[in-house]
Symmetry: C2
Subunit: 225 residues, 2 copies
DNA sequence: TTTAAAAAGATAGTATTACTATCATAAATA
DNA sequence: TATTTATGATAGTAATACTATCTTTTTAAA
């Protein structure tokens, strides 16, 4: 007997719900593995079909194209992380402690969640770091946004922004600081591993250092203002 | 009589130097216009060739593929901005004032530089905001980095990091703060215009607000540490 | 249990993209 | 003036990004 956590996704993101069938779940599972392995640019539905043992046409019945699939995966990730965050910060009163906990969750490699057998959250987290911003850095970001594709990301940003305001009601840029934290949790990690001279963590390459940087950024900023 | 500022680019970025011929300059000029207009995903060498009035093969003689061209444009931009920054902060003693000036230069829409007739810096700046991170968010970032494709970006980051250290020698994360400033100057601008709820600037959509946010982020952080 | 609906598999085909190759011509240079 | 070098014109290929159709299998309702 398992408690199955079911994430309800925006229906405009898919043609057929991938969580509703075995093939759909295979698409999610293997797309994560394949994007992780080859990168998003080299990834395509033909390779994915071969990996799964189905046909290209089969995948197109679930997702319009590979970009929609990427947007789906990022939305899934932010929804899942939102759950994780609300779970792990549930009964913490002090907003500063809550915020620190969130920074840690944002910047730490996640371990695979047993409740979602077809999603490897550790790989997905890496995908979000390297490919996540491609989901919105497009010419059609406006239309995608109108269809609420980025709602999970925006919701998380709002949650963090509110906690920042709780910490320091006078602070003028809670939302921008929230999006800065989220983006930098990923970019500093990417830089550390790929362009280390852009960071101060090149020697050890420890996630804990990214966390310390973000905590310092947030809390010395908040205290002063 | 004009003072022509010639930017010397990494030779591994092109097959034939685009600044050495009229066709090359046309490729730069029209690729900027076309990427600006259609976005990088929809942009291709066939459309570019039509725009210029040459053939696809002609463009391939200058650039291996469109990704290399994007890397070229971003490297060009960071080199050019590096010049602008050193020019405009030349005789400023106070590192804090210098840093503020740099933040302003990073976050302000540039006006077109008359010295480079074939590059519209205003459009290029917009391209860097929307497409710039795609230059390094790839599976081959490591090899690209080995070939020094990102040197101009890294140099600028180092310059800013050093100024941060001058302002506050004890501060532990000068390079990470520098890359955060650079990235956020762009991302907050992109969010402001496309996903405004991720920022605190949605109402006015003023660049000056991004600048204020960054100044606050940097200087309240630095004062405390 | 039968029957119909829905999903998946198999196969084929098209338009576009991302190139490479070749040859002729024009322009620059020695 | 001869020769190198850049460009133009044209063609062709392999891969990508799909769409269409038909058959078989699975599911689910009557």
């Amino acid at each position: 007997m398992k408690l199955q956590l079911q994430i309800t996704m925006n229906e405009a993101l898919f043609l057929r719900n991938p969580e509703s069938s075995q093939l759909g779940k295979n698409i999610l599972k293997h797309s994560i593995q394949l994007i992780y392995k080859t990168g998003f640019e080299a990834f395509n539905f033909k390779k994915l079909a071969e990996e799964i043992g189905t046909t290209e046409a089969g995948i197109y019945r679930y997702f319009e194209n590979k970009h929609k699939l990427l947007v789906y995966l990022t939305a899934w990730y932010w929804t899942w992380l939102g759950f994780q965050i609300s779970f792990h910060t549930n009964n913490i009163k002090d907003p500063a402690v809550r915020l620190k906990r969130i920074i840690k969750l944002l910047a730490t490699t996640v371990e695979d969640d047993e409740n979602t057998s077809y999603v490897n959250e550790r790989l997905l987290h890496q995908i979000i770091i390297s490919e996540g911003s491609k989901a919105y850095l497009t010419k059609h970001v406006g239309e995608d946004n109108k269809q609420h594709f980025f709602k999970p990301y925006k919701d998380l940003c709002a949650v963090i922004g509110n906690i920042i305001s709780e910490c320091q009601p006078k602070y003028k840029y809670p939302k921008s600081l929230a999006s800065t934290i989220i983006e930098m949790a990923h970019f500093q990690n990417f830089f550390m591993n790929n362009l280390p001279s852009l960071t101060d963590f090149g020697k050890n390459k420890e996630e804990t250092e990214v966390i310390s940087f973000l905590n310092d950024l947030v809390f010395s900023g908040l205290k002063k203002s």
